[in-house]
């Protein structure tokens, strides 16, 4: 059983991990959205 401080510490760690994960995923989404505007065939001539 964890004592009170360990519980809060564990909770804080999870919270920070959550924030980091969410921010990373949202950035990822934004990058993919933006990258789509660059025309793929420029990079993949086989598709032209």
């Amino acid at each position: 059983m964890m004592n009170e401080d360990e519980v809060i510490n564990e909770h804080g760690k999870r919270e920070r991990r959550t924030v980091r994960l969410v921010v990373a995923l949202m950035l990822f989404v934004a990058v993919i959205y933006a990258a789509t505007f660059i025309k793929l065939p420029l990079w993949l001539p086989a598709l032209k």
Partner: protein
Amino acid sequence: MTEAIAAIAHDQHEHPPAGIMRWLTTTNHKDLGILYMSFGGIMFFIGGAFIMAVRAELLFPGLQWLSPGMYNQLFTLHALIMVFGAIMPFATGLNNYLIPLMIGAPDMALPRVNNWGFWILPFAAILLLIPFFLQFSGIGSGASGLGWVMHNTSLDLQSGIGIDFAIFTIHLLGISSLTGAINVVVTVLNMRAPGMTLMKMPLFVWAWLITAFMLILVIPVFSAAATMLLTDRHFGTHFFDAANGGDPILLQHLIWFFGHPEVYIVLLPAWGLIPHILATFSRKPVFGYRAQVYALWTICFLSFIVWSHHMLTSGLPLAAEVYFMYSTMAISVPTAVLVFCWLGAIWRGAMTFETPMLFALGFVAHFGMGALTGMILPDVAANAQYHNSYVIVSHFHYTFFGGGIFGMMAALYYWLPKFTGRMFDEKLGRLHFWLTVIFFNMTFIPQWFAGLDGMPRHIADFALRFSAMNLISSVGAFLLGLSQLLLVYTVVKCVRGGTKATGQVWEGAQGLEFTLPSPPPYHTFETPPAVK
């Protein structure tokens, strides 16, 4: 000190607001699960109504009561509503309700975002349907009539305001799916009970984790394509406009880059939950857990590199045609692993055939047919006969309905007693199953033959040689639609007062959700359970 804080918080939570405010402001994963599932259910019937109108027109050759323009709107809306309004939200509802229970977490990681993600949906649905209803008052030319995939670029550019509403809807749906997906990833990676390693998670959770990754990767592409279409239409860009140096085929690539993973996004939740049901009713442990996890990841990876098999008649270079044929065929291998594991699940079990098991077995039989018919499609030479014909329509209904919808119905019957605390009428459930099976096949087998015989899709009227097949299919469709009303009755009857359900509900049911009472308390696992 913390006890005092906890006590106050507890007090506030024990009394959620009553009535409509509860449902508008809830951040509770069980409430949101119910909202998503109810929304999905309502959309299922609306999408179904649209296609009943379509099948009514296709009873006989000739245009009896729909104009071609209206016909195009009806099947477009049917598809958009079924995929984005019915099945994806229903699967999301399942994940919301069940994932925290299955991993021993008190709620999803982002409860408020969860609420926003849901409430976008009714708004998006209304937005999609506004132009459809306005046209009857003479305003506008109706909703989008371009097919859900909108990949006839120049037609998109030429069309009326309905497509602009559809584009906005797509953006909103994308945001909702993304918030849901991010929520799932963070919850699963961050909030599992101690001792629940990734390889101890139930398959349903694995499937949703993979689905969430796929959504995060491809929804932005679909949204961007929709944005580009919007700017081409109204803001003077020329991404896709051939006359000004743009490339109509680019839109097809973008949409199908999303579109193919999308079909696995729809199917994965079902693939994740079927093993649970098969294991429970065979009274055996899950068969091939690792194999299925690896197979699901393989399908996920492969799904991103096969998209142009939807474009094999568009004039791709020879090398591309050959590549996409061979890469698509590879998907049959991990899919076969899944089928093999479903068979392994029931083999030498001690089966009983309650309604959830019937739907799970029905899923295996029908999805199997859909998957096998999918195997022959990437053969490029043969594809010329199949592409945009009713062969494709039949194929994807076996996978989407025979796979996706059967999976959702299996899940509904399986967990309904857990959600409501009451057992449903087993006889009605079985009747619903058999009627669905019979009429589903009656609807879609004739479509297969019509397609082989040369019937194209998306046509409001057909040549005389296709008459017999269409007549049978339409009658089957009407009866299929009517049979689903039985499901509504069964659910309502259950909620109103079926026999009380136990915590475990089904003999042989495993999983943390079945260690809780039925229905579970408003808050569960506030202290994480011990997982061995």
